[in-house]
């Protein structure tokens, strides 16, 4: 009976706590589910498709390479999957990079999926058809029935294949990878391979190659990097390598978006947990205070303090448990929605599995935390003496603050805050944590930029609007530059070559610039003829610091270089170095068509038009911008995430205000009635009431934003380092500073104003009868 009565009287508070805990459980369980399911799905799919611990893309290698690899002591075995590489055109758009043509002979069990990423039955691949990654669909706006033209040789017409469906590739399907894979029939694959082989070297546009999957022995003690080094040093594989990735790097690429999403959701869950505890603590102390007389009466009737406390524990414990379970159930559906939304980025639909072994202990731990917290906060019930007829009025402090006619509303609000600080601490804390979180998220949004500029710059060697790489002498570069100038004056230009090198025996990509001032140097100095720049990732992998000497080798030549500094380039998850043209020329060949001309335009907005024109009118060139396929998808998801988080934050504020304002108003009805009887307009009373929230929330928000300004960049930078992004500096920004600084107090103010509307409706006599002063 007591429980039913308490549930009826406290249904508003209970509903608010339920909503907050539900949000917490849904957010946390979604983060954990997406993270674990994503990792399991991609890792499982990679294993199923035969990806090795170390996978190398090669071309021109002898057949003996596999045997040579299997002689390496720590290599268990190696498998070779034949590939064809060719440029392609879809719906009038030429790809920036070559496509990777996979042979569908059943040797590799690719999964076939719908355009939404849902698994389908394995079809018989017909000659003349091609299966693509769902990520390509979003990049090139290609649909089933469209035609893709593959350019294999200059003298022959491109090979045209019709898109028949989608398949899941656990690596080349990701929008994070420029090179996309295409699954074609054995008949087409053999015909295309023959065409490439028959073309002369000058005529050939496509090339044959292979993916070599190298598996480490189970008992091998080597770390992944050491294993990679051993393979490179013990064999000639480096001579034929186009690029290579360790299993961990592939996972990082494939899971980039999932990990960012899961990380943000997890961080938000921590904030929500703190909010739940703060709000629950506030609500319980107010409720116990309001129920003081009833509790005393019940005790006088022989009810024990523990029994009364049990009612509160049962009510709120039950609500919290229910919210946790409902949040858990909902999170699985949210995770499926997220997985579906990320197909355009990952190229495969991650299979959402309920990670009971992880989630249940986490939720039990949270439930235990809440139980302890509830016990602690309801302990005051035990100390209430029986028959406490008069409510204690202590608590209001004697403070002197000015009361002036012109600023009476504000002065009244300030007086209330100063007199009853304790009542508003929870509101200030909630505001502070929300502002801190929204500011950090806003910083990420600012860094990302409206078009993903943050990621573009992080993943590119140096800033540019347009890059043009000619592949032969017939490309009229003078004319191409005039075309670019026609679109926009060129502010700066420089040349970049990306070449494979080894650094202390470890394979990396060397980004070679003819003008080294374009490198994003984070620490130390820019490189010269005797030095190189390294990323944080390389520094960590090889244990290098500025001033160290390293051996850099390419094409069988080796040189000793000093590390002049650290620079930012997340390409290959940061597995690259920066060199000057003078430095690289000591070990590598700088002639030939290795150079890509980078242009920084006065008007960068025209770059896509210029790129489209050049792609349409010139052959033998690769034209690209600073962006990459699939970036739009990532930017869209991130921006949507920021919007959703703001929405959830607004809901949290609504609940926090509903709980705090409801209780405050209830306890102040008498006071409000007296003010009304003195002739104070309800509108001014409401304004003054909402101003209290505005003041305390502004203080909390300022603290939250301050912490974000001081530590936000460092915190995000630390997280981003795992993605190869070595530097994160945003500082003061509209999205990260101004928006939360305005939005959080305004939302609190607006909701408090809305909740105080009952002051306008209810008559003074009713208000007076509702509460004594």
């Amino acid at each position: 009976m007591l429980l039913r009565s308490a549930a009826q009287r406290q249904r508003g508070s209970a509903a608010g706590i339920f909503a907050l805990v539900f949000l917490l459980a849904a957010c946390l369980c979604t983060a954990v589910t997406v993270y674990l399911s994503g990792t399991d799905s991609v890792a499982g799919e990679m294993a199923r498709l035969g990806y090795g611990d170390y996978t190398v893309w090669i071309s021109g290698a002898p057949e003996s390479l596999r045997a040579e690899l299997e002689q390496v002591p720590d290599v268990d075995h190696a498998t070779v999957q034949p590939l064809l590489f060719a440029g392609y055109e879809i719906n009038g758009r030429y790809s920036d990079d070559e496509g990777q043509l996979l042979l569908a002979d059943g040797a590799v069990p690719y999964r076939f999926v719908s355009e939404q990423g849902e698994e389908m039955e394995t079809p018989e691949i017909q000659p003349g058809t091609v299966y693509i990654s769902p990520a390509l669909r979003s990049t090139f706006d290609v649909s089933i029935g469209d035609t893709i033209h593959f350019e294999l040789s200059r003298s022959e017409e491109p090979v045209s294949l019709t898109v028949a469906g989608c398949f899941a590739d656990a690596f080349m399907g990701s929008s994070m990878i420029d090179m996309k894979s295409f699954l074609i029939s054995a008949a087409d694959w053999n015909a295309m391979r023959d065409q490439i082989q028959q073309a002369s070297r000058a005529d050939a546009l496509g090339r044959a190659g292979a993916m070599v999957h190298i598996f480490q022995r189970a008992d091998s003690p080597l770390e992944p990097l050491d294993f990679r080094r051993e393979v490179s040093e013990s064999t000639d594989i480096a001579l034929y390598t186009a690029f290579s990735y360790q299993r961990e790097s592939i996972l990082s690429y494939m899971l980039l978006l999932q990990n960012i999403l899961a990380g943000v959701c997890f961080a938000f869950s921590v904030v929500l947990l703190i909010l739940c505890l703060v709000v629950l603590g506030h609500v319980l102390s107010v409720i116990v205070e309001q129920d003081r007389e009833d509790i005393a009466s019940l005790k006088s009737m022989g009810q024990s303090g523990a029994g009364i406390r049990g009612v509160y524990l049962a009510l709120y414990g039950g609500i919290i448990l229910l919210a946790l379970l409902l949040g858990l159930a909902t999170s699985q559906e949210i995770s499926r929605l997220l997985a579906s939304a990320m197909v355009s980025s990952t190229g495969m639909c991650i299979s959402i599995r309920f990670p009971a072994a992880v989630l249940i202990p986490i939720l039990l731990a949270i439930a235990a935390l809440f139980a302890l917290f509830l016990r602690a906060r309801t302990a005051q019930i035990l100390g209430i003496p029986p028959v406490q007829a008069m409510r204690e009025t202590a608590g209001e402090r004697a403070v002197q603050t000015p009361l002036r006619k012109r600023t009476l509303g504000l002065d009244m609000a300030w007086r209330e805050l100063c007199s009853n600080r304790r009542k508003y601490i929870a509101v200030g804390l909630v505001a502070g944590f929300l502002a801190l979180f929204l500011s950090v998220i806003g910083k990420m949004g600012t860094w990302l930029g409206p078009n993903g500029e943050g990621l573009m710059n992080a993943f590119s060697v140096a800033d540019h609007d347009l890059g043009v790489q000619p592949f032969n002498a017939s490309v009229p570069m003078d004319e191409i530059e005039r075309v670019i100038q026609w679109y926009s004056p060129v502010r700066e230009t420089y040349e970049l070559a990306m070449q494979s090198v080894t650094v202390d025996g470890q394979e990396y990509t060397a980004n070679v610039l003819d003008d080294t001032r374009w490198f994003h140097v984070l620490a130390g100095e820019v490189c010269d003829g005797d030095s190189i720049l390294i990323t944080d990732t390389v520094a960590s992998e090889l244990g290098l610091s500025i001033g160290d000497s390293v051996q850099v080798a390419a094409n069988g030549r080796m040189g000793t270089y000093r590390v002049s500094g650290l620079y930012q380039c997340a390409n290959g998850m940061g597995s690259n170095i920066g060199m000057s043209i003078q430095g690289y020329s000591q070990i590598g060949d700088i002639t030939g068509y290795i150079w890509c001309y980078h242009y920084i335009l006065e008007n960068g907005a025209v770059r896509d038009y210029a790129m489209a024109y050049l792609q349409d009118h010139y052959r033998g060139i690769d034209v690209h911008t600073n962006s990459w396929s699939g970036l739009d998808g990532i930017v869209f998801v991130m921006h949507a995430l920021i919007a959703v988080l703001y929405l959830i934050a607004a809901v949290c504020i609504l609940i926090a205000v509903a709980l705090a304002a409801g209780k405050l108003l209830q306890s102040e009805m008498g006071k409000m009635a007296v003010y009304k009887s003195m002739g104070l307009f309800a509108g001014r009373l409401r304004l003054s009431f909402a101003l209290r929230f505005l003041i305390v929330v502004s203080i909390g928000t300022a603290a939250g934003i301050g912490v974000s300004l001081l530590f936000g960049d460092a915190l995000i930078g630390y997280l981003f380092r795992s993605f190869g992004i070595g530097e994160f500096v945003v500082g003061f920004s509209l999205l990260g500073t101004v928006l939360p600084a305005i939005a959080v107090p305004l939302l609190f103010f607006a909701f408090a104003l809305a909740f105080s509307a009952r002051l306008k409706q209810v008559s003074i006599v009713s208000l007076l009868s509702e509460s004594d002063l």
Binding site: K405, S419, K671, M678, G679, L680, A682, V765
Partner: protein
Amino acid sequence: MREAILSGRGIQKNFGETTVLHGIDIDLYAGDFTVVMGASGSGKSTLLYALSGMDRVSGGTVTYQGRDITRASEKEQTKLRASAFGFVFQKTHLIGNLTLRENIRMAGLIAALSDREAAERTEQLVQQMNLQGAAGWLPGAVSGGEAQRAAVARAVVHSPAILFADEPTGALNRANSQEVLDLFSCLHRDGQSVLLVTHDRDAALRGNRILYLEDGRITGELVLPVYAGRDPTRESRLTAWLEEQGW
């Protein structure tokens, strides 16, 4: 014939199915100390709140300076409370985090007084109500009598046309009650119009016009000379009249 400053005609108030006031006609005159007496539950407080516009009536009109305040907007009624009416309740209903002095001054600021006028008028009332020693304290730290005197001062800081008082001595001991009633008498002598509802005979003695309310209807009226200290003749007239009314 005197002109009424506040007139109620056919005032009716229902609470659900129950009718508390049955079409009451009443006039309040400038300078009068009108007392409404009656047993508990007779509708005294309801009548006071209906006449003062603090509560909506179910029927009838209340006219102040020619305007029906029952039809006035919330804004107009609020203005009226800030300018023309003052209220004293049974419980002091002082604002707990304002000192007595600030409680008085706050009412002045809410009304039309400037900062300086409110401060000056507050000090004047502090002296008049003999609150010099307690004015700087919060309501919780002073005696019931001091708090109620401060509540009276707060009600008259803006010199209202009518001072409404709902059982102002109901929660006070005898000594404090006398102090507060003396204040009312003093204010009345200075020209303040008062409407006081009470079931206390001593409080009723302070009025010069006593109305008796029974079951939501005015059943009798007694006019007495203005109170000028204890007067056995006045007291016996009131006692006799109350007995007539069934007190």
